[in-house]
Structure formats: C-alpha cells, structure tokens
C-alpha cells in the first residue's frame, strides 16, 4: 500500500472556493516577488485560511534556503513545523525545491494533515508575434542547467540503469536538454507523461508537438490528467513496485505542478538509496508568466506514517 493518500477538491471558478471556516494551523507560501495573478490570489486565500504562515525561498545557485527571509538549515525548516497538526502549502507560487523541502520537513515532523493548493491560470504568455521562436514555444522560462539539490543528490554515472519518468509540459527544450546534458540516460527505459486531459483542451497538442522531436520509438508514452496528483503518484509507485530488481526510478518533474507534487510524494516515500532519483532543471520563471485565474485545486494528503 502506498504511504500517502490523496483526495482532491476542484473548484471550477475564477473566484476562490468557499470552504467554510476551515483553518490550517500553519501555511507555507513563497516569498518570491515575481508573482502572477493566480499566485497572488492563491496567497491571499492561503493567508486568510491559516492561523499562521511562513515564507519559503530556495536559491538554486547557492543552494541556500530562507525561512521568513532568514537563512535556514533544513533543521530550522523542520522546527518551523514542529507541533503543527495541519499545514497548507501554497504550491502555485513555490518552486519545485521549495515545495519538496516543505513537504519533506512536514512529513519528518509527522504533520497529520497536509494540504496543497494549486491555482490554474487562464492562459500562458505566448511568444508568437515574431516568427523567430517556435510557433508553439510558450516563452515561460529561460532554459537552465539540470542540477541536483541538497538531500536529493545522485551521481547518475554511478548507479544502475533503471527507468526514467519525464513529466512534460509545453517547453520542448527541457526534455531535449535533459537528453543532451545527461547522455548517461540514453540506455534507460523512458516513460514520457503528458497531461491529458490538459488544463484547457488543446494545450496537450502544444505539449506533444513541442516534445515530439525528442521522443524515440522505445519510449513509453503515458497520459495522466494534468491536474491529477494521485495519478502521477500512483504511476510512479506502480513502476517502483513492478521492478523486482530494485533498480532506480528517476523522475523529472518538467510538466504540470500537480504532477510535480505527485513526484515529490514519491521521492519522499522512497528515500532508500537510489530507489527514487530526482532530475530537475530549475527554470527561471519570468514575471507575469500567466494571466488571470481559471480553476482551483485543493489536495489533501494523509501521510499514513503520521496517522
């Protein structure tokens, strides 16, 4: 049985969901100032439904974590969650390492009820008015290098060949770059996951079209609803369980945030040596990368280890 149980509340409106007087003990939000509309809405909602909150920031160049703008070790982050029974993580605005560290700290502190909020945008900023970029290239981020982060560091040249799961979004360069920068992954069995159904019908075509050049005939293509944390988590756990030889399962969360949350739960669950390996490229997000708000998702995660 899987360690985490996930239930989802989806609210299909622009306005925040009314969840009565539900309040969390603590909330984790981003201290990033480059926020888009939906992140602002999400943070406002989070603050109004939490008795207290703290700000998280992780700088990838220096591998430094900040809690409430002060440099903090992972121990300090854990201390922030000590004795907390319920935690709301504002996942829309947190970067992937920030999300992962917060989740890891919460599970280590045995927080009983962990919730994550994710707000979909109405649209992504497209860069199609000049013809120098790919028609389907959404100008979401500058490309960056794949680099490991503290606590999730694995030397891919030293471990056995296993399976690699790539969750993909619109940006084709990210998979291409992974395959070029990490040539050691060539012989790995690859699973490519697209978000289908997408947040808006038609977006999946962009994701597939932008990545098609990097796919090979041997790759396993999988489709998982763009907003489903549980399906992403389940897929990874199934792959983990079906490998009798216990070879590594590498996960590259380059697609939707809900898929990335599923991947984070998987990484935390399988913390034994080389069982779950993270590959991530830390894109720099540009300001106002999305417009407006489309839909709200609240994921409640029960950690069976803490309950």
């Amino acid at each position: 049985m899987s360690r985490f149980q996930v239930s989802t509340l989806t609210h299909d409106e622009r306005a925040p969901p009314s969840i009565g007087n539900r309040k969390w003990d603590m909330a984790a939000i981003s201290s990033d100032e480059l926020l888009d509309d939906r992140s602002k809405a999400a943070i406002a909602f989070t603050k109004s439904h939490a008795k207290a909150h703290f700000e998280m920031r992780f700088l990838v160049g220096s591998n430094v974590t900040y809690v409430n703008k002060l440099q903090a070790s992972f121990g300090k982050l854990r201390a922030q969650l000590s004795g907390v029974n319920s935690l709301l993580i504002e996942a829309t605005s947190l970067s992937y390492p920030e999300l992962l560290y917060t989740l890891a700290a919460a599970t280590q502190e045995r927080v009983k009820a962990i919730s994550l909020l994710y707000v979909e945008p109405l649209g992504y900023r497209r860069n199609i008015d000049n013809h120098l970029c790919d028609h389907r290239n959404f100008n979401l981020s500058e490309n960056r290098r794949f680099r490991s982060i503290p606590m999730f560091m694995t030397n891919l040249s030293e471990i056995a060949t296993g399976q690699a799961v790539f969750f993909l979004g619109y940006e084709g360069a990210r998979l291409g770059q992974a395959m070029q920068q990490e040539e050691v992954l060539q012989p790995w069995r690859k699973h490519i996951v697209f978000g289908v159904p997408a947040f808006e019908s038609g977006w999946e075509i962009d994701a597939i079209a932008n990545n098609i050049d990097y796919l090979s005939g041997d790759d396993q293509i999988q489709y998982i609803a763009a907003s489903s944390v549980s399906a992403a988590y389940r897929l990874l756990n199934e792959l983990r369980a079906s490998d009798k030889e216990q070879n590594p399962v590498l996960v590259a969360p380059l697609g939707t945030k809900p898929h990335a949350i599923g991947a984070a739960l998987f990484l935390i669950e399988h913390d034994a040596m080389d069982q779950a390996v993270l590959l991530y490229d830390h894109p720099e997000r540009s300001a106002d990368r999305t417009e407006d708000v489309r839909r709200w998702h609240l994921y409640d995660v029960i950690d069976t280890k803490s309950n």
Binding site: S148, P150, N155, S157, A173
Partner: protein, 656 residues
Amino acid sequence: MQNAFIRNRTEEFGHDIWSSYVLPPYFPTLGFNEARKSVVLEGGRGCGKTALLRYLSFQSQFSFDRKAVPEDAFKTVGLYLKADSQYFSGFTGAGLSDAKWQNIFEHALCLALAEQIVGAVRTLNCSAERTALYGEIDKLDFDDAAGGFVEGGLPSSLLAFEKWLRSQRQNLSRWFKNFDETKPPALLPLREFLGSLIVEFHAKLPYFATSVFAVYVDEYENLLEYQQKLLNTLIKSGEPPLIFHVAMKPNGMRTRNTTGPESIQEVADFRLIKLDDALAPQFRLFAAELFFFRLIAEAGVPENATPIKLDVLRNEHRITERLSDSLYHSRVFAEMERILPGKSYGEIARDALDDPVLLGRWKRIVTAGLQRLKSRRVADDFLIKDAPEATIICAALLHQRSKNADEVFNELSEYASGNSSKFKEGEWIHHLLIGTLLLLYLPYRQRSCPIYAGFDAFAKLSRTNIRHFLELCHLSIGSFSGGASLSDFSVTIDSQAKAAFAASQKFRKEVAGSGDHGNRLLAVVNILGKVFRLSQSRESQSEPERTHFSILDEETSGAGKTILDEAVKWSVLFEEPETKVKGNRYESNDYVLNPIYAPFFGISYNKGRKLEIQSRDANTILAGPVDQFTLLLRHYEKTWSVIRNDDQFDLDLGGM
C-alpha cells in the same frame, strides 16, 4: 543494412568500445601512451572525444574481446571519469564553505577513481585464462597499503576493499540526504590515497610494475569553478605514476587557477590538442571508413564486400598505412561515391535548365536584370543549353552593377564557342555557380536540392562532426534489408537531399538543448540563418555563399560575449582567425555558422564571402531582445536592396 547508423553517440556503446572503435587518423600524434604531462583535449560536439577517452581506458584496453593484451597496454592504464554535471553542480552552498565543498568533491572523485583502479585489475583478470596469465590478486593488501588514511584501517582483500569503497560511496550519499543533521563521512585526500594504491599495485602485481595510471576526465567544462581549480591543481602536480588529462568543449576552461597561488600554463603544465583541427584534414577518409565499418559491424555486410578491413581500422600500428596508401583511398572514395552519389555543379546546372520550374525562375530573374539594364535583349539570348554553367550564372551577372548585357552576351558567345572568356578564365563560373544555383532553388523548400547530396556534400555538411555524418547516412539509407547485396546498392540523390534537409532541421532544433543558453543559441542560429538566406537571395550574388561573419569596431563584451563563447562551445559557430584586416580598425575573428544548418536555410556549406557586422548589430543578434530581430532583417533587406519579384521568398521558414 538495418539501422547501421542509428547509434551515433558513444554513450550508446557502453564503456568497452574495443570492438567498435575505428582509430582516428590523428591517433599516432596524440602520444598518450608516452605522455608524462597532462593533455587537454579540446573538441566540439560529435568530434569523438568521449569515444577516444573510452578507447584509452582500461575497459577497452583490457576488453574481454581482446584476445591478447599486448605489452604496450600495460604502460598506461586509463581511468575514465565523466563528470556527471547535474550531480557535481549541486556540490555548492547549503551552508558549507567552498573549502569544505572542495574537500567533499575531492573525496567523491577519490572514491570514483579508487573504484576505477580496482576495476582495472578486475577487468584484466576477467577470465580463468587471464587470471592464470596475470592474477596474483590475493597478494594485494589494501590495509597495508592505505589503511593509515582511515580510522580503524581498511579491509585487506580486493573483494572486501571493493565492498568498503561501495559503502563509502553510500555513506556520502546518505550524508547528502541529511546534510545538517549528521556528521560528514571521513574525507580522503585524493593524490595520497590513490598514490598508495598504485604503490601497492607496482609492488605486488608484476604486470603493473611500471604502469602509469592516467585519469581521463570527460566533460571538464561542466564542472564548477572550484572543481576546475582542483583538477587544474591535479594537472599541475601530475607526474608518473598518476597523471590527469581532461577533455572539454571549446571555451570550456573557465579558470586557469589552481587551489594554490599558481595557475596552469599551456606547454609548461599541459599540452593542448584541438581534436577538430586534428581530424579536419582526414575527415573524409575517416568518415568513409566509419561508414563501411558500421555496415560490417552493425548491419552484417560481409567484410569482403567493402573496401576496408575491420582489423586494420582497429590496429594502432596500421594507421600510417591507411593514410599513405593512395590506392586504398581511391577504392574507398570510389565505393563511397557510388553508394552516396552526388552530381557535379555542371550536372546540377544542366538539370536545372531542363526543369520547367527552375528554368521559369531563371528566366524571370534574367528578364528582371535585362529590364534593370534597360537592354533590348531577351532571356532566351542567354539560354545556351550546351553551356549550362555559364547560362545559369547569367542570372546573377545581369544583376551586377559593373556588368552590362552586351558584355555578358559577348563573353557568353566566346565561352560557348570554346574561346577564352571571363566565364572560365575570369573565374565567373568559379565564383558564382553554387551561389546562383542556390538562388534558383531558394523559394522551393519543398523540393530537394541536389547540392546537398553526395558523399562530398555530406562530409562538408558534417565538417568534423561524426554524429552529424552518421545521422545523414542514417536518414538517407534508413532501414533496408540486410540480405541485399552492397554492390547493387546506391542511394538516390533525392533521398540524400531530403535526408540532408531533415538532418539539418533536426540538429537546428536540437540547439535549444545546448547548455544554459540553448534557447538563445537557437534564436542566434535562426537570425543568422535568415540573414545569410537574405544575402543568398540577392540576384547579383555579388557576395556569394555568405555563411560567416566578423564583428567590427568594438570587441563584444558582457552578455553578447557570453553568448558568442557559448555558441563556439556548442559548435553552433566555429571560430577561425580572421582572414583579412582592413586598415587599423578592430575586426574580430571569423565566426562560421555550422554547415549542418545550411540545407534548412538554403545556403551554402562553403565558407564564401564574409559578412561584416557592426558591433551594435552583433549585440542585438547575440543578446538583444528578439523583437529587434525583425528590424535588423529589414535593415539588411534595405541595405542589400533585395528585390521582391513574383517568386514568393519566404523568410518565415514556416514552423520555426
């Protein structure tokens, strides 16, 4: 011939490439086996760096496939180490000082290399037969050799030491999982620890008694600055029996500093070998040899159906023979040109005049030229089917300011009558033919262009990139029944030209994945491709075959310089010393666009006339906002007064 060329990265062949490695012609000049000083191998993508290092490493040298390991192979034992970029780039910050990280990095490197050293003994003794011949493993005592470096000593036997090394690696990983809560593992000093292991090998294993251990660090460019400094220190202090060599892309050495006050110097501390330059003079031969080698090894074509012999290509002592035997060269090239036939430019010109679409375009360009010159002559006056090359370039000549219609007509008549003329003796054909043919083909991207077909064209498109060459072959030949006879097999010009376009498109897209600035580099390729295409579209062809540029006035700096260096690093551009200096103004080196992109943009794979770019415009291309690109293109269009005639000239190149 099924998929003989599909594997085009060394990584797909594993560590032991003994049986699949074709020795490159420059191999004897490397002198690795005698090297007592470090070598820095510099080479662009696909030039064969990784394959070379893997060939030199013990996995290949002591390969199970090798029937007898010669004496020479024991002189230098190669230890291959690829810097896993995502792993080592995480070795920073997290509340630890750089000095601390440097020790951790050294420790990780030390463990990896210790595993390699014992791996060399294991691989050499990989069979009962080998063990009987070499063996003596039980004499090794690792505790005695290096126990002093570790509290509580080391296990003595090889097997137990291997286990210990693995557990040390896991200790490090475990600590990485929980940095600030647990004590770091005891860290090993690399040079001293490995040195002790080597002393033990020298003393106990007679076959390694005088061996030098050479570490080959691949992808040095991916290391962080302090990591490069540590390696530079190892380069500087390297001496037998432990030497460090590194391989990197151009511009890959970000610092020459060591961890101490000194820096490393070329010649004094290391020898720099530029692999692309070493490969360039013999690239055609090497590419052809590799082609046949793959057909035999991967597709099961009988060796005697080809002009090569596997054993010769794998034999270090027969390279000189390969290079000097001109009869062998003729056989190899003749067979290569039979399988991948090309057309001469003369033939392409003749075919163009027989093609109604291309002839129609030629007539329109000639007519426009005559109108511009206000001549009473008509296009048909210049159409001499028996003189196709001269006829074709009349399209360009009639648009050149310095020419008039009567002069061109008279010269053409002389040429057609076999007399001396400016077409031949004045080198008009020589200078203008390829450019004018490309001009004719330019609007018709859906047609395959024969200029890009043929073994010679493939070699030029690949420059020194073996991966590009193999992909061109793969896309041309595809999968085809292995039972078919090679002597009956030949690829059509059309299939080759289509393959060239497909490969060009594929590799252009791949630029997006090139390092930290891949998206930007792709934009640079696109804008340069378009500028050169625009230049190519000028009817006069007064600056034919433009595919390279230099930067005038000011040296590029800041963000522009970073991108220029990255473009060279990723072989998007090739940097060459400038060809001409005009007066005393600043002019940069030449930057040549990688010829693999030529078919996509419809431009030449030759280095023709240079485009001189003002530093301001160069900065726009390299680092400016993308919306300025359109303005820049308009500017060139205006300067070059590109005439839009009735032929659709598509700069958008749809779907880019």
